[in-house]
Symmetry: C2
Subunit: 418 residues, 2 copies
Amino acid sequence: MGLKEKINEANQEAVNRIINSKVVWVDVKPAIEVIPGMEKNLILHAGPPITFKRMCRPQKNAMLGAAMYEGLVTSEEEMDELCASGKIRLEPCHDHSTVGSMCGVTSASINVLVVKNETYGNFSYCTVYESYERDRLLVGSISDAVFENLRWLNSNVAEGLRAGLKEFGGAMDIKNIIARALAMGDELHSRNFAATALFGLEFMPFLLRSSVDNQIKQDIADFLQRTEQFFLHHVMAAGKAMTDAAKNIEYSTIVTAIARNGVGVGIKVSALGEQWFTGPAGEIMGLFFGTEGPEDAQGDLGDSAIAETAGLGGMAHAASPSLALIKTGNANDAIAITEEMRKICFSQNPNFGIPIQNGAGAPVGIDIRKVMDTGITPIIDTGIAHKQGGIIGVGNARAPKEAFKKALEAFGEMVKSS
Amino acid sequence: MGLKEKINEANQEAVNRIINSKVVWVDVKPAIEVIPGMEKNLILHAGPPITFKRMCRPQKNAMLGAAMYEGLVTSEEEMDELCASGKIRLEPCHDHSTVGSMCGVTSASINVLVVKNETYGNFSYCTVYESYERDRLLVGSISDAVFENLRWLNSNVAEGLRAGLKEFGGAMDIKNIIARALAMGDELHSRNFAATALFGLEFMPFLLRSSVDNQIKQDIADFLQRTEQFFLHHVMAAGKAMTDAAKNIEYSTIVTAIARNGVGVGIKVSALGEQWFTGPAGEIMGLFFGTEGPEDAQGDLGDSAIAETAGLGGMAHAASPSLALIKTGNANDAIAITEEMRKICFSQNPNFGIPIQNGAGAPVGIDIRKVMDTGITPIIDTGIAHKQGGIIGVGNARAPKEAFKKALEAFGEMVKSS
């Protein structure tokens, strides 16, 4: 078998694993109890590895806020010292079976969604969606209100989600909700409105059967009503569980992670295991909610590009003409983006049909060869963080070509030496 | 001012009234307490006037079932007699500010949604959505299970809806939910999945705050989870409240009702008040859920064409590529239908934007002149009833040209004699 056939076979196996993964939400637990390698003095962040000193301001704030919330430090000076001395460690979420939205802040006591890949046995984690407010720890905001909300998430919300899920039977199929939401205008990254509403429909009957306090039931109902993007973190954990199953396939050139820390963007590739290949963070083109503009925007940030890696978000953009309309004023851009993404993906996912494309599956399996051949880089639907923290808009970013170039070079070296 | 200008001005006024109507859901009450002219021995039906003898089998069954449920009769023979003697009266829903789905059965004790047009002060009514089951009274099924379900609707469901709505503040904006659902793949006639889910999101926090039994809260949560079309009856009542406001405008050729009784289809026209103009019931082309086919299908049935009359359903079909895909296998039919409907509508509704058409408003205000000029009749998205009762499919029907022809002739006569 020639090299090309070996690669195609390996890539087919990688996308099959992504497509065949049955991913179910199975628990809500403090990070320290479930995330592999989690420790009290470890804080996880979005994107490829980066030191505290080199982090962008929002991510620095997020790490500092988490360390304060965990009682590890009381000031940025102290944080600087403890990070430099290694007494506080910062590591990528991605290297701990975890994904984190925007700054990706995940610390020991924070509750995370636990998602199981029933087909391949692996688990993944993502914090419970934090808030509908502009100011959240995950976009680098530190305030009493932010901490109070985190405590409420860790108590009432976590308890309610846990109790309802238990009544539900302990395992909720996430891909079923994703598939239905794709027929309802979501692309499952920047728009999860239908998915959140469907989650509410499915979840509430069981929450109501549970024995938690009525106040907690009300809190969950209120939170879902206000928080249109609530289901994003379920999607992210599901995406991580699906793409982790496609890792470490010899000869596969399929991307298994795209992650951004605001300074750089890192990707992983199946055959290249846990190695990061990086390039500079891209600028985000899109809509600013208020008076801010591009000059206020932090570079592309967050692990939520796991959506695109798993064949949603930008890949499935055609499902969401509304989102394109908001971002560019042209609904047809939604279809154009998905069509462009088909050129760099190895296959399409029959589970994730796009109605306006006659039910054709969304493209899945970004192939680094195709990215380099075509010069087309993946489009990532994403939120826009303010340089000083807070969320100020929504738009499209491109993953940087440098990362794919480095990965393809490393792949070439590996093949030569094998 | 010439006749043409008079008509255009009148039509502009009629569509303005439809567009400007703010319609809110304000109560759930037994029909006898709220519907104008309702009496114990009166049963309302879908479509233009028809006698019991001439009704199609499903509608006959529905009337009989309602009379049994109300304790008026125990057999069809008795029903025949009492209808012939006038001791039981059957009248169109439409002539009592009401609309009824499929057979349209509405009797004294059955609870109805009360919708208020806050802009113009009129009220409208539609029964609470009956069930997700194939067998329902409203499609002509009579059984113990159907009656038991009606009693449950009249007790637990009505009480829960009433209590939650009261906590909500006593008035829920229906057009807000419609507008959001149009961006989520609903056309609000044959597909109300997003609207139902959004209703659940908005309603549950208030139901939970109410003091009704936990069992009732669970019942409502369960009912919404199972019943994807639940919100259709809110849409129908809203459509009736909007189009009733456009009635009786001198010189207006805008259609204010399209209603079907399975035998005939009747329309009303603004300038022609409460007169019915009828034609034969059309065949429905579409998808059969099971083993049945066109030979089993009852002719076009129900007042739900109020959706099209108010600028939703077939008019807004472009919002729902999924529905077209189910019916014909071609998602683009959704757009083609809306484009065709633009040719017979006077205007478009800026409140009801269609994302894939760059937010262009759905066509609104079917103009009988345009129907006769173009030969294009309104497309109605509709359910398909079995000739013996039960719901067996979903498809497209056309309102018959005869009705529009008669209406235009009557309009001509009226103009001549004025």
